[in-house]
């Protein structure tokens, strides 16, 4: 069964017909032609498909497109503005926060979404005082915990953590929550 929906992807509106079994990931990759989010497991277990859906990070492989008519989707490609790389992009390159690059767009979108969550005071498993309002902080352990939904088989983790710290501290427009 097909359905007609509208998705706003990286600022551009797309009117498209999707099979109701089509995930947002497959709609992006196979219908719209945006292959920035990757398919690593199609199971919600690796995070390579992470996009911002109406501003929040989700595994797009677990999200049916038909259920999100009218939604705003941001991929790593969409984080770049006017051809300029996002501060998180630049920091990943500088810190070599990747090798093969396949999990990378998902890591970067996840990192940007994660910093927003920290900025909003959302606690994590690594947060010592979960009742401290709006002050989750951004220690290395917080980043490790909050980024553990994005697997990297090349194991760039020990470079991803400082890449995110650097972008959070130095990146214009990258929100940083609380004090570390």
């Amino acid at each position: 069964m097909d359905a007609e929906i509208t998705l706003r992807v990286d600022g551009e509106e797309h009117r498209l017909t999707v099979d109701t079994r089509t995930t947002i990931l497959d709609a992006l990759r196979e219908r719209i032609g945006n292959t920035s989010p990757k398919k690593g497991c199609d199971h919600g277990q690796c995070g390579a498909c992470t996009v911002l859906l109406d501003g929040r990070r989700v595994n797009s492989c677990l999200t049916f497109a038909v259920a999100h008519d009218g939604a705003e989707v941001t991929t790593s490609e969409g984080l770049a503005e006017n051809g300029e790389l996002h501060p998180m992009h630049r920091s990943f390159i500088e810190h070599d926060g990747y090798q093969c690059g396949y999990c990378t767009p998902g890591q970067i979108v996840s990192a940007v979404g994660m910093l927003e969550e920290v900025g909003n005071g959302w606690p994590s498993h690594a947060t010592e005082n979960v009742s401290a309002e709006g002050n989750a902080g951004l220690s290395d352990d917080e980043i490790r915990e909050r980024m553990s939904g994005n697997l990297c088989r090349c194991a760039a983790y020990a470079n991803i953590v400082p890449a995110i710290q650097y972008a959070a501290e130095h990146g214009e427009g990258v929100e940083r929550g609380g004090n570390a």
């Binding site: 099979d19 079994r21 089509t22 497959d26 990759r29 196979e30 032609g33 292959t35 920035s36 989010p37 990757k38 398919k39 690593g40 497991c41 199609d42 199971h43 277990q45 690796c46 390579a48 991929t75 790593s76 490609e77 984080l79 770049a80 790389l85 992009h89 630049r90 990943f92 390159i93 500088e94 070599d96 990747y98 090798q99 093969c100 690059g101 396949y102 999990c103 990378t104 767009p105 970067i108 690594a126 352990d141 980043i143 490790r144 915990e145 980024m147 553990s148 939904g149 994005n150 697997l151 990297c152 088989r153 090349c154 194991a155 760039a156 983790y157 020990a158 470079n159 991803i160 953590v161």
Partner: protein, 700 residues
Amino acid sequence: MTATQAPGKAVGAPISRVEGGLKVRGAATYAYEHRLHEPVYLYPLQSTIANGRVTKIDASRAEAEPGVVVVLTHENAPKLASTDDKELAILQSGDIGFRGQFIGAVIADTFETARYAASLVEIEYDENEPDADFRADRDDLYTPEQLNAGFETDTSVGDADGAFDSAAHKLAATYTTPREHNNPMEPHATIAVWDEDELTLYESTQGVFWTQKTLAPLFGLDAGKVHVISPHVGGGFGSKGLPHANVVLAAMGAMLVPERPVKFALTRHMMFTVAGYRTPTIQRVRLAADENGKLSAVSNDVVEQTSKIKEFAEQTATSARMMYDSPNIKTTHRLAALDVSVPSWLRAPGEAPGIFALECAMDELAIECGLDPVEFRIMNEPENDPESGLPFSSRGLVECLREGAERFGWNGRHPTPRSERDGRWLVGSGVASSVYPVYSMGGNAATVRANSDGKYEVEIGAADIGTGTWTVLGQIAADELGVPFEDVEMKIGDTTLPNASGAGGSSGITSWGSTVVEAVRSLREKIEADHGGNIPEEGVEATAKMPKNPHSGDFAMYAFGAHFVEARVDEDTGEVRVPRMTSVFAAGNIMNAKTARSQFMGGMVMGLSAALHEESVLDTRFGHVVNHDLAEYHIPTNADVGEMDVSWIEEDDPYVNPMGSKGIGEIGIVGSAAAVANAVYHATGVRVRELPITPDKLIS
């Protein structure tokens, strides 16, 4: 961003990956992502039995599904020109050799339709009881003719048995490593297109020419009729080296729908069935030493598995032949041939499991001798290669051990297990050595072109699987040309480029780099001889083959390393955490300080993963891996990795290749699992000889 490098200074500099801007945006094109006109989608049918044959396939319901183009089975499959390789010769009969083997496919106009229609195909089998039980006490173990990479199956120097019997100190123990799956983040993917008698493959591969040379004879084609394109590869770790049946299935499917691109990516589940894996090993290790701790015997008797349909014999014990000085060294390999899928390469095949066993045994014998594990290794350092008798071109193990001990804070460590605790956490430290051979592979050629605007192009059909090839080959070329790095443009990953070996055996830079250096030298000579030292208006190019290493055969060539690990074990739950690892490597001249550090680190973490997480659990009744996804087959997450201290010593080795480099893709994984296991022993007093070290093994 990376500053401009002065001419001649690119090699060694921490230059960021040239394709970084593409990768971070998700704009680097991986195999499945090439935009082609009107593609169709292939979803495979896989055997649900491990031994037997297909007796009936009823595809009528699938064929009736709107959008289905064709159903491929052994009844309508193209006949292959060569069926020697039983892993690749799929759909030539109804015979089944392992569970998950391809027995057909549905091709449809969308992925969703192909997948659903595949579920409608009804298959009947004639089933035999599978034999998938891997044990060392089987009575049908056999001796393979030779091992992977051509190594001898069994070796014996001196009399290891006799020396063991009469030794002052001895250790005999059995170590086991499990079946492990490579699991690169990018699933194996192909887009195949037939156009008359030519086959184009957009492929995720560690070697475009390996794919070309494997596929062409299967379809009775000249190699030149198979065009393989693979600019970016989302990891391989060996599983995209020797081509697997998925690419054959895609090519067969494409044959049925000429000119239409057929897209096929393995699901994560399928990657546990057809994409290769590391054999489980059972290693009986015996070490003996005199009263001073000098080794008198080293032996490793290995049992591993292969598939009944195709032999793969991993070289598990080869590192025991050369690692330490002993007058008596013996190694053997025996195989169990089972109704299982075909094992293959996984990062450091041989060395990774073999050194795990040897380096745990060295730890055990050091303790038995009352010696510090670092000093015990140093006192058994050989003068020359114990296997060949040749001198080492360079051997930096002792320096790595000393440097690592210093950086880690090893000295002053209390030798007694369970001597340090932090609340509920038992704290320990462990060490292990690492080694990996310097391989080079033949058949390489490169073309270098000089343009009159002062820019250069370098062409070679090499691969970048996350290894930094795009960047590092450019660095090598720039320095040899004596021009800024930015003036060199690389072209790799395509069979229209000069022939190249693949990314395997950590041989890439040795093989491709030597060839690029030679091509640059040819270009210089040509410019000098034909153009009076000036680049002509129309440009000029030169092609050269990889030169033979004049020192080959004169030296034993290896990279070395030492790992130091802190382990913390929760006394109540058995949970193991590794807050820090220090590793020091002796790997010749390091080509790029930034990408090299990442590569070492990736290997170290994969060893940590082998130590604590990875195990593919086979249900022997049915012959399939039950934990076949990333929720149940555990690899480290960000929170599993602590502080990583990675460094290398200065090592000048003029014999390995013109760059003085040694391969670094695999050495990081070798020994790191042993260092973790030795640290866990030091923390707890519990010696776990069966990987992975899961909590149940520590608290029972």
